[in-house]
Symmetry: C2
Subunit: 453 residues, 2 copies
């Protein structure tokens, strides 16, 4: 392994060129117009994996977008790792806020800019390059399986079935995922918790057609006014979610664990500055890290209705829409919460409107124990590259399929993410620092070595 660092340094441009080929494919899974791009992406991942040295690679159909699967057998006595990543990306709107073309990656100020640069093409690709070195250097001491899917950003609706139908193929000792972040570039961390998700769209209908707000205003319920009140009624002044039953399954984290969490380095001023806000806000009685790590949250992800163009059109619109999402803590059941949300929205609606709630996405939370072999190997790998022991950290994000893996395949996942808070994933100008990319490759290579020992 003494040549690993040199190998990475010598091949920086090659690695970047290859990653850019992946980034140029607009593989937006949620938009039908990109259906063909999802196939192109799957094919490209197959090529990339073959080039890296797998025994076989294949593009496999699902009910939705295809997955790319590949494997390399090293030996019967070696443990098996299943690497999970995703080739699909988020939509790119608001497109006018991008400084460069989201699908024409560039390097600027030491960072790769482009949709998917971090989430998750850049991060998944690190495994491919770490694996390539181990193959080329004849250092392989794990059996490798790669599963790169195309529907993570829409909740992996078909991957559960895929796993059930391919239990034998996917047999492994642990799943390895790089789709999370580190606390900061100099504070390595391992994500030990993920939040679940419940996501619904609500449609409020008032009059059957748009009305003149002068002739009707004051006498007919305006669905935009009504929807605003319904949303406002979902939280109270203390930042608590007021949907009946919402906290029923939320386990309070022990004061001991909260004390440990408080030891993780966190610079509130820097955090506020990075997103340019004067004040933070959230549930009373919890710190910022706790608010995202161990507490559920409620966010309006989108809202629209009425006249949204230039100037002053007066109208009392027929319809109002919102996309509402809750992040959930591990003990909460996402389907139960989706039901609570639907019930609340339908119950509070006044008789003057009708309400339709459509569940769009959901997933369970996850907790990773810190005493499993994979965690210990990861700790050693981070120490090797960063010269620091990584901090166990509960992320506010959600990767619903991680809970499904445990349920269907009986496997724990280890979350080795190298993203940074400033990477703007899901946002305009998504980026991934080159330093994280190359350190990530190195850390993962060491992780596989230690795990196979």
């Amino acid at each position: 392994m003494q040549n690993f660092k040199n190998y990475i340094n010598d091949n920086r441009d090659l690695f970047i060129d290859e990653l850019f080929e992946l980034l140029r494919i607009p593989s937006i899974s949620s938009q039908n117009e990109h259906k063909e791009d999802m196939y192109r992406a799957a094919q490209k991942w197959k090529e990339v994996l073959i080039k890296a040295g797998v025994d076989k690679a294949e593009v496999l159909e699902t009910q939705g977008h295809p997955v790319t699967y590949a494997e390399k057998f090293a030996g019967d006595n070696y443990p098996t790792v299943l690497i999970y990543g995703h080739m699909d990306v988020m939509p790119v709107d608001p497109i006018d806020l991008w400084e460069t073309d989201p699908f024409e990656p560039v390097i600027k100020d030491g960072k790769i800019y482009g949709r998917g640069a971090d989430d998750d093409k850049g991060q998944s690709f690190m495994h491919v390059k770490a694996f390539e070195y181990l193959v080329k250097s004849d250092l392989l001491n794990c059996n490798f399986k790669f599963l790169i899917e195309g529907e993570e950003e829409i909740g992996s609706p078909n991957l559960s079935d895929f796993c059930e139908n391919n239990r034998e193929k996917l047999k492994a000792d642990v799943i390895v995922v790089s789709d999370t972040s580190m606390i900061s570039a100099d504070v390595p961390s391992i994500t030990t918790g993920l939040r679940g998700l419940s996501y619904v769209e609500v449609e409020v209908t008032g009059p059957s057609h748009d009305l003149h707000s002068g002739l009707f205003g004051g006498a007919v319920a305006n669905p935009l006014n009504v929807l605003s009140s319904m949303i406002a009624g979902m939280t109270d002044s203390k930042g608590k979610i007021t949907v009946p039953g919402f906290y029923n399954d939320v386990k309070e984290v022990s004061s001991q664990e909260r004390e440990l969490m408080a030891q993780a380095p966190f610079d509130e001023e820097k955090y506020k500055k990075s997103i340019n806000v004067d004040a933070l806000s959230g549930e009373e009685g919890y710190s910022t890290i706790e608010r995202t790590g161990i507490r559920p949250s409620f966010d309006v992800c989108g809202i629209w209705g009425g006249y949204t163009g230039e100037g002053a059109k007066t109208v009392l619109p027929s319809k109002a829409y919102a996309k509402l999402s809750c992040r959930l803590v591990p003990n909460q059941d996402n389907e139960k919460v989706t039901q609570l949300l639907s019930q609340y929205l339908e119950t509070v609606a006044p008789a003057s409107v009708t309400v339709k709630v459509t569940p769009l996405h959901g997933g369970q939370g996850y907790v990773c124990p810190i005493d499993i072999p994979a965690y210990k190997a990861a700790e050693k790998a981070f120490e090797k590259v960063y010269n620091k022991r990584p901090v166990p950290f509960r992320s506010g994000g959600s990767i619903p399929i991680i809970a499904t893996f445990e349920e269907v395949l009986g496997l724990k996942s280890i979350l080795l993410g190298f993203g940074l808070e400033s990477d703007a994933i899901h946002s305009p100008n998504e980026n991934y620092p080159l330093e994280q990319f190359f350190n990530g490759i190195e850390t993962l290579g060491w992780f596989y070595r230690y795990f196979g020992e």
Copy 2:
């Protein structure tokens, strides 16, 4: 005048063809791309007026879109009427809800369909045809002035200056306007009150860029959640507007006048059916007619922010927007209310966001006395054509320029509208029943005769 009805019947197709030429011009005043169309519209109105028999017609510049002015001198002993109408129309979105092209008018089920069919091309054009008959039949006993403007739907920002600069030209005894509705096709009414308007756009900014709702949700204020709460906080459960000071200048209407209003025919079931709602809603303690006629109202005319596309994108957006409008009763000052709205929105915003309020539109309310000669002439004209005495009626709508006319020119306006509630003005599938169009022409012809006597 005994030939008037025949004249109208003999020329139905001609009148419709000519109106269609006006309707085909997409004269949307609020959208810059239609600037040239506003000139085309002004030119077309000039042609139409010349054809009808005016002495002179001209297109006059303003700081914004041009106006068309025309006049016909009948005699020194005759009173002078100034006909005010507008050639501009509302935007057409949501365009996909139109069953026919908004700018390619058609006749269907006895109605003219197209943007502006009622508001206000169809209604303004009735005056032209009534005038034409009086000229051709040598029955003119009023001096006529026509003022057709191009900025009514954006609040007539330049017409006040235009009036100040053209006091002499615009001298008249009364202003006649057809830009309102009747109670129903068989209940003729004259609009004796209009509400004022205060219209602002609010922009709420949270973080400087869109954030991942998992990693940040619960710890950073979401501007969509915040905006919803700000809007919800503007009314209470009794339908009262809670913006401090809002009702300060609202005069309570006497119980005597409220009793008179209650005698106007109003069929609540039919009203609800026409807009397809199960229940009405509004300020407690007031009837539907009172809620729009004598009470102010608050409507969200548009709201937007975050992800509004297909599927489930999770995001904690940077910005949220809404367009907010209040209809005001005559004694309320629109500029004062705009200030109250701005103050409220800026005051209630938490420290975690910034708020920008932009006033977009405003106008005063108006009351027309029922004892002026023009009102009495109008009463007679309606009785002649409809065989019923028209009901004085306070409309919920706003025509801000009417109050300006009184202020600048010292003239009262008489509001002789023939629109119906079902005309869908400002909405998709705007229409104007042929019966109202032809009865309107006839009523206006009689009105001018009676007024000149």
